[in-house]
Amino acid sequence: MHIVVCMKQVPDSAQIRVHPVTNTIMRQGVPTIINPYDLFALEEALKVRDYYGGEVTVLTMGPPMAEEALRKALTYGADRAILLTDRHFAGSDTLATSFALSQAISKIGNSFGTPDIVFTGKQTIDGDTAQVGPGIAKRLNLVQLTYIAKITSIDLGARTITVERRSEGGTHVLNSALPCLITMLESTTAIRRGSLDDALRAARSQIVKWNAAEAGIEDITKCGLRGSPTVVKRVFAPTPRAQKASQIDTTEKAERDVADELVVSIFAHQPALRHELSSTGSA
C-alpha cells in the first residue's frame, strides 16, 4: 500500500520568547523541529507499512530549509520525501495550504501510486488549527477520520479500515473505507529510532523539490495570500495582569502556618468558596 504523511516544520514553541519592549517574536536562534504531533502520524504510518507492506512518502510544504525535517523523516524510515516549496505559497492560510497539499498529493498519486491512506498529525503546535487535515480530505474526496487513537485493522482486499476515534467523553469505534485521511492523536508510542541503513540512505537521498507548477498547480490564485480568505489584521501582546500575585510570606514559618494563611487568603478573596468547598468536600 502507499501511504502519504503530511508534516510541518515548526519553531520549537517551548523556546519562543517575546521581546519585552517591542512585543515582537524573537525568532533568532529559535530551533525548528518536526511538529511533534506529526511524528505520531509518521510512526503509525511506518507501523502500517511494516505490517501490510508498501511505501511511505512524506510531504511537507515550506521554505527550502524544511528539507531538514524531511531528511529527518527519512532517517526514521520513510521511503520518499517531497518538499513543496514556492514563494507563491507564502502567506497561505489553512484553506490555501490544504489546496496546495492536496494538489501535491494528487501528483504524488500519479507519479508513485495512488495513496491508500493520507496521515497528518492532529494539529500543529504553531497554528493549532487542526483544519488542514479535514481540508485535504474534502478536496481529495477521502473519507475523513480525525482524532484517531488507534487503527484496529485494515483489510486491503475489502478496502476497509477499523479505527478508534476520540470524542468528548469517550472513544468511537468506526468501520470505514480506504482511501481515507487520518489525523493521528498523540500516543505513548514515541517515534522509533531509525536504523543505521535508514540514516545512511537519508544522508544520500535527494529530497524531491516541487514548485507550484511541478506539483501540478495551474491556478496560482488559489495559493498563498491570494488564495487565503482569512487575513491577519493585527498581532499584539496579551495585556499583562495589572498586579502580580500577592505573596504569602514564608520566612521562618512552619509550612502548616503558611498553608493556614493561604487558606485564609483564599477565603478572603472568594468568600463563597468557604461554603462551596465544604459542601462538596467529602465527595
Binding site: 519553531p11 517574536i25 487542526a130 479535514p134 500575585a245 472568594q270 462551596e276 462538596t280
Partner: protein, 369 residues
C-alpha cells in the same frame, strides 16, 4: 494587506468605513448562526457559551441569532431546540434524520453546508471540540470560506466584519483575523473560553425544518461502538469549579497522589501541565493549556507549574489562581492572584491538612459515617 483595500465602499447596508468590497453574491448573507453540538443525547455546554457570544454579535449587527440543530428524530433533538431558545436564539434551523444519530463527518457536513447555502448566514460559530473541529474544517473547505480556529475574542468591526482574535505562536501573542470577500465568516471557540450566559425561560419560537437528501447507503463510515471513559476517568476538567494541577515541580510520578488527595479533599478535579503528559505521568485528557483544556474554575491551584504562556492561556479565565512554586521568579506569579514560594511536594500535604481542618465540621461527620 494594502492590496486588498477597496476605495469605493458600497453604500448599501449602511456599513461605514468599509475597507473591502464583498462580492455581490455574498451581500445577502445575514444573521449569526451557532451550531448546537448534540452528542449521545446531550447538548455540549460550549453551544450555550457560543449562543452568548452570538447574541452579542447579532445585537451589534442588528440581525438575528439562530441555533442550528442536527440530530435524529426524538426527544433529545427537541430538547436541543428548546435549549437554543432558552439561551436566547431567535430561531432554530433543524434537520431531523435518523442517520444523524451519531456524529459522522459526511452527513453532518452535507446537512450544515446545505443549510448555509440555502439560508445564508454571515457568521457561523462552532465549538472547538473534536466534533466541531472535524465538521468546521470540512464545511469551510466545501464552501471555500475562511475559518478561524480557537478564538478567544469575537467582535464586530465598524464595517460589520467579524474580527476574530486568537492566540498565535503558542499563546505568546494574539492576532486578529478577518475573513475577506467570503461568507459565512466561520470561527470555532474552545469550551470554557467564553462565559456561560444566563439561561432564560424563553419558549420555543420559530423552527425552520430542512431536509437532508442523503441515505445511509451513501455514507461510508459506520459507528460500530462507543467506549465511554466512565465516571472515574471521565475528566470533565473543563467544567470543574475547583481544579488543582501539577507540573514538573512535583518531581516524581508518585507525588501525583499528593495532588489527587488535595483535589479529593476540596471536591475538585485535577490536571497537569504539558510536560507531565509528555513524561507519560498523566493522560492527555488532563492536560491544561494551549494544546490541552481551557478551564474556568472558581479556584485554581497550580503546584510546581512554572506558568509558561502556553499554560497561562488555558487558565486565565479562573476566578482565583493560587500558585505554589519554589522559584520566586517563575512566570506563574505574574498572573496568579496568590503566590506561595514553597516546594509543592512538602506543601501540598500541609495544605490538604489545613483544608480538612477548616472545612465545615458536617463534612467530617459525613466522613465518619
Amino acid at each position: 494587506m494594502g492590496t486588498r483595500k477597496c476605495k469605493a465602499p458600497p453604500p448599501t447596508l449602511g456599513r461605514a468605513g468599509t475597507k473591502k468590497e464583498l462580492p455581490e453574491h455574498f451581500r445577502d448573507y445575514r444573521h449569526v448562526w451557532v451550531f448546537m453540538e448534540l452528542e449521545r443525547g446531550q447538548v455540549h455546554p460550549v453551544s450555550f457559551e457560543l449562543l452568548g457570544e452570538g447574541r452579542r454579535l447579532a445585537d451589534q449587527l442588528g440581525v438575528q441569532l439562530a441555533g442550528v440543530v442536527l440530530g435524529p428524530p426524538g426527544d433529545s433533538t427537541m430538547h436541543a431546540v428548546a435549549e437554543a431558545f432558552a439561551y436566547d436564539a431567535d430561531l432554530v434551523y433543524l434537520v431531523e434524520k435518523s442517520l444523524l444519530t451519531d456524529y459522522r463527518n459526511e452527513p453532518f457536513t452535507k446537512a450544515l453546508t446545505d443549510l448555509v447555502l440555502t439560508y445564508k448566514p454571515e457568521i457561523l460559530l462552532l465549538g472547538a471540540t473534536t466534533l466541531g473541529r472535524d465538521l468546521a474544517g470540512s464545511v469551510a473547505t466545501t464552501l471555500l470560506t475562511g475559518l478561524t480556529a480557537d478564538c478567544t475574542g469575537l467582535d464586530v468591526d465598524a464595517d460589520g466584519s467579524l474580527a476574530a482574535t486568537r492566540p498565535t505562536f503558542g499563546g505568546s501573542l494574539l492576532c486578529t483575523i478577518y475573513t475577506l470577500n467570503c461568507r459565512p465568516q466561520m470561527a470555532t471557540v474552545r469550551p470554557r473560553v467564553m462565559r456561560m450566559p444566563e439561561r432564560s425561560t424563553k419558549p420555543i419560537g420559530r423552527v425552520i425544518r430542512h431536509d437532508l437528501a442523503m441515505c445511509e447507503q451513501e455514507i461510508v463510515t459506520k459507528v460500530v461502538g462507543f467506549l465511554s471513559d466512565g465516571q472515574s476517568e471521565n475528566a470533565n476538567l473543563a467544567y470543574a469549579d475547583v481544579v488543582v494541577a501539577g507540573g514538573l515541580g512535583l518531581g516524581a510520578a508518585e507525588n501525583l497522589e499528593l495532588l489527587k488527595n488535595l483535589a479529593r479533599t476540596i471536591g475538585g478535579d485535577y490536571g497537569c501541565s504539558r510536560p507531565l503528559v509528555q513524561k507519560g505521568w498523566m493522560p492527555v485528557d488532563r492536560q491544561i493549556g494551549q494544546t490541552g483544556k481551557t478551564i474556568r474554575p472558581k479556584l485554581y491551584i497550580a503546584a510546581g507549574i512554572s506558568g509558561a504562556v502556553q499554560h497561562r492561556v488555558g487558565v486565565e479565565g479562573a476566578d482565583l489562581i493560587v500558585a505554589i512554586n519554589t522559584d520566586p521568579n517563575a512566570p506563574i506569579f505574574d498572573f496568579a492572584n496568590i503566590g506561595v514560594v514553597a516546594d509543592a511536594v512538602s506543601f501540598l500535604p500541609a495544605l490538604t491538612d489545613v483544608f480538612i481542618r477548616r472545612l465545615a465540621p458536617r463534612n467530617r461527620m459525613r466522613l465518619v459515617n
